[in-house]
């Protein structure tokens, strides 16, 4: 692994809390992301775990410049993208895509699936009508849907299928980096594995790089090469997935691991007694 695909250094995102009668004065700040540094190599999956509200989603949006960071640097393929204007970002958008937490909310309810998946292609100015349609059909097939779904509306699909549409849309411009913001947390447990495996297969096929966010360290461990643990806007621990899970260095990581449900009651009891995770 030569040059990393994404380097985040000292990234800070503060939201001012304003209050005032006529002129808003800043009375405080929410430190959603506080001095975060990460690197992701090409073809690697970095898992980001942390409890709800610890700043994971804000970090994702800041990395993709959907929110302007307060300070810090984000380098994509060695190029600084923090502070680029919306217009300057546009050509880079095809390289980095996002998968959202809420499958339904992230799909425009008034557009047909074909339009939703085809829009990123159209934005890149790719292809004519028939060519575009063929490409969209391919993408739908690749994520396990059928090209016949082209004319349907998002609400006609189940949650898992909607997430597949979201994935197809993210794949459309052939990106290098995909930021997946809790892609499975709103799905049924039975569907989760399918979506996670789909993401895994796509990574192998297309050489994708993932920033995979979840609050469930069990899911993250399954997909990630390396794991970063986030707590109150800071990264408290970062390292290879197995090392972090087997020998957590930070007490917060330990408590996250302890929260993973264990199906076997005997193991669960043993874990509580020993305070350590039994062989998994």
């Amino acid at each position: 692994m030569s040059e990393p695909l994404l380097e985040v250094e000292g990234l800070v995102m503060h939201f001012p809390v304003k209050r005032g009668l006529l002129v808003d004065r800043e009375v405080g700040r929410v430190r959603a992301v506080d001095d975060v540094s990460l690197t992701i190599g090409r073809g690697e999956t970095l898992g980001l775990v942390g409890e709800s509200g610890c700043g994971k989603s804000t970090l994702c949006r800041t990395v993709l410049q959907l929110l302007k960071p307060t300070s810090g640097s984000v380098r994509f393929e060695g190029r600084e993208i923090a502070g680029l204007s919306r217009r300057q970002m546009r050509p880079l958008r095809r390289e980095m895509q996002m998968i959202f937490q809420e499958p339904y909310a992230s799909l425009n309810p008034r557009k047909r699936v074909g339009q939703i998946v085809g829009d990123p292609l159209r934005l890149q100015g790719a292809g004519s009508g028939a060519e575009l349609r063929r490409r969209v059909g391919e993408l739908l097939e690749r994520v396990g849907l059928s090209p016949e779904h082209y004319e349907r509306y998002p609400h006609e699909f189940s949650g898992g299928q909607q997430q597949r549409i979201g994935i197809a849309r993210a794949l459309a411009p052939s990106p290098k980096l995909i930021v997946a913001d809790e892609p499975v947390s709103k799905l049924d447990v039975s569907i989760r594995a399918q979506i996670v495996n789909l993401l895994d297969d796509l990574q192998d096929e297309m050489g994708l790089t993932y920033l995979f966010v979840a609050h469930d360290i069990g899911v993250v461990r399954h997909v990630s090469d390396r794991i970063a643990v986030m707590h109150e806007g800071r990264i408290v621990e970062q390292g290879p997935a197995d090392r972090v899970c087997e020998h957590p260095a930070d007490p917060y990581t330990e408590s996250l691991l302890a929260a993973v449900p264990v199906p076997d009651p005997r193991q669960a009891r043993a874990r509580r007694a020993g305070g350590r995770r039994p062989g998994s």
Partner: protein
């Protein structure tokens, strides 16, 4: 029947402004004067005179009431629709800009809307109507003569804009926080594409309902303005103007007031029901509901 004014010129035997003061017509074989020497005009003759003077004549001038009703309906509908188009266009653009950009763009637009809103619609309409009816309107190369029908159209379209822009802005404010907007930005969509490609499709059903309701409201305002003399200028007829002339003879010929009034009520009512039905038809989610009810008929809905 309500659409009859659209082809008024094909069914009418005479012009709307033609007077027939000295004419005589044959009603059921009997010769009668349209306007008798003492000034009273003929009442409804229904089919007695081969369709001429169906509803009688409109007073001293002896104009065919039915023909005036048709042409008046034409004016009223034209004003209603044209003003609604102006309102909708302005409201959609302003609502999207204010709702999407927020900040000072929103402040400027919203405050300007508030100023228009602060005046009672009728008062503002009368003030603008009388002012422009006297002097006409001149904006750069564009000049509209004082009797033109475009004056009430522009006035009505303008005064109702805040009433439509406000709800649309609110809707945009709510929609823009949805994740699909963020998704579009993440795809590289610019502000215009987000506004017109992502947000506008979600507003259509709302816009259509507001649009049809606004036609109805516009027709009411037009009637009120014409009734007060600040709208359509004589000799042109509109339903409101006809009511206005009818009131002079309300005791001897009440139908001259009642008939155009009824036309307004019926048209407004059908537009409301139509708008309601259209909203149900256009919502993709309701289409599912209709498919689920396949075989049963769509339940009838009450007009608002």
């Amino acid at each position: 029947m309500l659409a009859a004014p659209l082809w008024a010129s094909h069914v009418a035997h005479t012009g709307p402004d033609t007077t027939h003061t000295t004419e005589k017509i044959t009603v059921d074989g009997e010769r009668r004067e349209v306007v008798s020497p003492d000034g009273a005009s003929i009442g409804p003759v229904w089919f007695g005179a081969d369709g001429r003077f169906f509803l009688g004549a409109d007073g001293r001038l002896g104009r065919d009431e039915m023909v005036r009703l048709m042409y008046g309906g034409r004016t009223s509908l034209l004003i209603g629709v044209a003003a609604a188009l102006i309102t909708t266009f302005l409201a959609v653009v302003l609502g999207l800009l204010a709702g999407y950009h927020r900040g000072w763009t929103d402040s400027v637009i919203s405050r300007a809307m508030d100023i228009v809103w602060a005046f009672p619609v009728l008062l503002l309409g009368i003030a603008l109507g009388t002012a422009l009816a006297v002097g006409g309107l001149q904006i750069g190369p564009l000049s509209i003569s004082s009797g033109s029908i475009w004056i009430p159209i522009l006035i009505i379209g303008f005064v109702y804009t805040p009433y439509m822009a406000r709800p649309l802005r609110g809707e945009v404010l709510a929609l823009r926080e949805k994740e699909f907007v963020e998704a579009a930005v993440a795809q590289g969509a610019g502000p215009l594409r987000v506004m017109f490609g992502e947000l506008l499709p979600n507003l259509w059903s709302r816009i259509i309902v507001l649009f049809t309701l606004s036609i109805a409201n516009n027709m009411l305002l037009e009637s009120a303005l014409s009734f007060l003399g600040a709208g359509v200028q004589p000799p042109a007829s509109s339903w409101g103007a006809m009511i206005s002339t009818g009131t002079e003879l309300i005791y001897s010929a009440p139908l001259l007031t009642i008939i155009p009034g009824t036309m307004i009520v019926l048209t407004v009512l059908s537009l409301n029901v139509f708008g309601d039905g259209l909203r149900d038809a256009i919502d993709p989610r309701s289409r599912v509901r209709l498919e689920a009810h396949a075989g049963t008929f769509e339940p009838e809905r009450e007009g608002a």
